[in-house]
Structures are given as C-alpha cells and as structure tokens.
Subunit: 140 residues, 2 copies
C-alpha cells in the first residue's frame, strides 16, 4: 500500500511530493496527493484530501475501520484530522523531524489518549529519496 | 467581528456551535460555521471552512494580511491550518482547556516560531454560554 502512496506522491506536480491512501478491509477507499499550490488551499495536504474523499465515499466521518498510508509523517493539521476521524492505524514513510506530529518530538495522541496505532519508517528510504530529489531539483 | 462569528456559530445546527470569520482590511472575506455532521466531514470545522473560502476568494493560500475571529480556541488541526496560511492575528472567544492548540497547554506556534498573534477570551462569556447551552440541551 505504501507503493500506491508513493505513486500518488509523484502526481504532486509543483507541490512537495506527498501521497496518501485510505484502506478498508484491504481495499483502497481513497487516494490523494498534496495539491496545496494547485488548488490554492493550505489544507489540501494528501492526508486531508484522502480523508475527505473516504468520508464522502463511505458517507461517514468516522473511519474507525480504516487504515492510512502516507509517505511523510503527518503535520499537526493532518494528525488531528486523522485522530478525529478515528482511523485505526497509520503507516508513514519518512519522519518529519520539524513538523511531524505523530512521533517522539510531538505526538498528538497524548492529547486525547487516542487508540490510533502509528508505525513510522515504512519504505523510509524510498520516501526519503522522493523528498530529497524534489528539494535537490528545487535548489538547482 | 466576534459578534458576526457568534451569529455564524448559531447556524451550526446539530453540530457543536462554532463560528469563524476571516477579515481583511476591516472587511469580512469569508465566514463559516462547524458543519462536521452536516457534511460528514471531520475537517469541516468553522475555521477550516472559512479559511478555504477565503483562499478561494483571494485566489491565494497565503492569508498574511487577514485576521481570524473564532468563537472557540482552535484545535490542533485548525491551529496548524491557520499558522500555515500565515494569518496575522487570531482572536478567539472561549478557551478549550482540553484540545485548544493556541494557548498555554499547547501552543503550536512554538513548533514553527510563528509570528501569528493570538488573543483569547474575546467576548468569552457570550462564547462560553453558547457552548454550555448546547451541551445542556444535548444532555436534557
């Protein structure tokens, strides 16, 4: 599933490449990529777009039976949307040492005693490379 | 402007009453209320909806010349959307002692050294009453 998320990330165009996939019972319910620049929407991170799509598809804002795969550790905005939607498990690729909100530096799960499980570093090398290639290109 | 936000909050229907107004040069650019239940969208907090509207209207995700008025202290999701959009000043009414993310317990501005100014407790009594009336009705 992280491979699908990586493929989604590649669609991000001028935006920082991040891809997300919402999965239920082993099947993809929704997938999305970062489209902040494209849509002029600061909330249009891959996770938010994927969650919104999944909610509309399932006609429910509660995604307690869903898992989320995302290539980069969620920021506080996305992390809180994830926890509020009650997604049961999050798998992320790269750690975001600056603004990540689901690991050691800041783990928003402590705020609401969330039962959401989080696994970081899934296909980390591939996810890291995607980001470093993007920033290398940006600087060149 | 907080009065407008309070009027918006009253439109929240079955949702927890929260209203938000985005202001630029003293004029309202966008206003919104909480519509999570109405739209089956966990991200549809008043602040997020108002920010998305303002961005579309101004055709820019950067809202550096805007102020936000909201009846309740923003949660981590909304707070990070606000900080990412670079809104210059936030005025909120009620403090959220559990999940507020722009005051003492948790202030996400520390994460990115944000220059966004925040003033809490504006028309606090009126904002508190709106929420307590809602929860009283819910329990009755």
């Amino acid at each position: 599933m992280m491979k699908f998320a990586l493929e989604e990330a590649l669609k991000s165009g001028d935006d920082i490449p991040v891809g997300a996939v919402v999965v239920k019972d082993g099947e993809i319910v929704a997938s999305a990529h970062n489209e902040r620049e494209l849509t002029n929407d600061v909330t249009a991170h891959a996770e938010i777009v994927a969650i919104r799509k999944a909610q509309q598809k399932l006609r429910n804002w509660r995604l307690a039976e869903c898992e989320l795969y995302v290539t980069l550790e969620p920021c506080p905005m996305c992390a809180w949307a994830i926890l509020q939607s009650r997604i049961k498990t999050v798998y992320f690729g790269s750690y975001d040492r600056n603004y990540g909100a689901l690991s050691e530096k800041l783990d928003l799960r402590t705020l609401n005693n969330s039962s959401t499980k989080v696994y970081g570093g899934i296909m980390e090398k591939e996810c890291d490379k995607l980001l470093s290639d993007y920033f290398k290109k940006l600087r060149s």
